[in-house]
């Protein structure tokens, strides 16, 4: 055990953890909107819209996140047309490519979580809203969405933790996040166990915090 290395690498790894958290929070926020959008499409009765939304979530849940990042980072740059558009400003940055991949990925999982939450809402609640003369739009935004959010909290908490682990793949496209820096230190010092303990500890700490925040929210928004 090389305690000195562990202490010396801690500040570097903590700095990198900030990047991990940035990647995580930005992609979660974008992913939540994507997920909500596709969950609503899934509830649509039009078979084409429905199939399209299902196809999206099937493809993104059925392929590894690494493939998705590589397609966006290495693949899209190959299209000449894209290089001449405004989009290229975003797509040439590995940081944004990673975020796009993460957001699309978590969006697919989130859409499934929200869809099942919408489907478990008791019809009686919606009927009660209708009989009170509330418009469909208000029922959706003021009744269905809050209930769905409460229903999906436990599953969404898991998704946040999975996504946090997923952000480690950003290191494969040259971003120095927590895993990226950990790998760099390991490959320069050849002390994998020490670095793993420190970096793994930081990850576990973040998991612990997320887990408890979700638990707190679950309690706060529980029905009784």
């Amino acid at each position: 055990m090389d305690l000195e290395l562990m202490i010396n690498s801690l500040p570097k790894l903590l700095n990198a953890a900030v990047i991990t958290l940035k990647l995580l929070s930005v992609s979660l926020i974008i992913g939540l909107f994507i997920g909500l959008f596709f969950a609503i499409l899934r509830l649509n009765k039009n078979i084409f819209i429905n199939r399209f939304a299902y196809g999206y979530s099937y493809v993104f849940r059925g392929t590894p996140l690494l493939v998705q990042i590589f397609i966006i980072y290495f693949g899209l740059g190959q299209i000449e047309y894209l290089r001449s558009t405004v989009l290229w400003v975003i797509l040439k940055e590995p940081y944004w490519c990673a975020i796009i991949a993460f957001a699309l990925n978590t969006g697919a999982y989130t859409s499934e979580i929200l869809r099942s939450a919408f489907q478990t809402i008791k019809p009686g609640i919606i009927e009660a809203g209708k009989s009170l003369g509330i418009s469909n739009k208000v029922i959706f935004y003021k009744i269905q969405i809050p209930i769905a959010i409460r229903q999906s909290l436990p599953a969404y908490g898991n998704e946040i933790i999975l996504m946090m682990k997923g952000t480690s793949l950003a290191s494969t496209v040259t971003i120095m996040d927590l895993t990226g820096v950990a790998k760099y230190i390991i490959s320069t010092t050849f002390k994998p166990i020490e670095v793993f303990i420190v970096a793994g500890g930081i990850y576990l700490f973040m998991t612990f915090i997320i887990h408890n925040v979700i638990k707190f929210l679950e309690k706060k928004y529980s029905f009784n």
Partner: protein, 230 residues
């Protein structure tokens, strides 16, 4: 399409072999995971606090730390660990572990943590009466486990194990960082030499989709088999 030709002109046969490699690594990792689950599930269910603590640390750490970090630990630390154990037995030569074993072991440990949780949940949800009835009927410990508990556990566990399998299959793409030539690594090589990453990574995505689709169909059949009588 020419890019996918078999033989020297295309990447078809290479990608086919890489797909077989992905399947082989996934199955090996899944089996290693089952072995870990076999050890840690009883520890999780045991009444001994210390054994509980060991099993809980295993599942919590592995499920809370990114897969890539675990793979790096094994990739950089695996050789050192094996050489250290060998040096205790007086063997001091350099030992090279191949990428397949390192990768399958790293993914296996991850998949084992998920399997442990699945089996724990399944065993806990079996009615207490089943254990008691088996005792009353005079089954010995062995018969009780294999004839009464295990078949019911499998029925409850298979849907969740199919999720673990999907996770394991997708996680094998991360082994490409260690240089094992599976789908991802082969696509990386092909993309580099043809300068056509979009095509090859998309094709890799299709291969993974195909694998998950086919395995889902097979697992559904297994599910039907184990839930007859319900």
């Amino acid at each position: 399409m020419e890019l996918l030709a078999f033989g020297d002109t295309g990447w078809g046969d290479e990608l086919f072999r890489a797909t077989l490699m992905t399947i082989a690594v996934s199955i090996t990792a899944m089996i290693i995971g089952f072995l870990f689950a076999l050890i840690f599930t009883p520890l999780k269910l045991s009444k001994n606090k210390f054994l509980n603590f060991i099993a809980n640390s295993y599942t919590t750490i592995i499920r809370g730390v990114p897969e890539l970090l675990v793979i790096y630990l094994f990739f950089f630390g695996g050789t050192g660990a094996v050489m250290f154990v060998a040096s205790i037995f007086g063997y001091n030569e350099y030992i090279e572990i191949n990428a397949f074993i390192t990768g399958a072991f790293a993914i296996g440990i991850i998949s084992g943590a998920y399997s442990t949780e699945v089996f724990r949940g399944a065993i806990q949800s079996i009615d207490k009466g089943q254990f008691e009835a088996a005792n009353v009927l005079g089954f010995n410990k062995f018969g009780k486990f294999f004839k009464i508990i295990l078949p019911q556990t499998l029925r409850l566990a298979i849907p969740n194990l199919s999720n673990v399998w999907q996770i394991t299959l997708k996680d094998t793409s991360l082994i490409s960082v260690t240089g094992l030539v599976e789908i991802m690594r082969q696509s990386y090589i092909a993309a580099g030499s043809t300068r056509d990453p979009l095509f090859f990574y998309s094709f890799a995505a299709v291969l993974y989709l195909l694998l998950t689709f086919v395995s889902m169909k097979l697992i559904n059949r297994l599910e039907v088999k184990y839930s007859r009588g319900y």
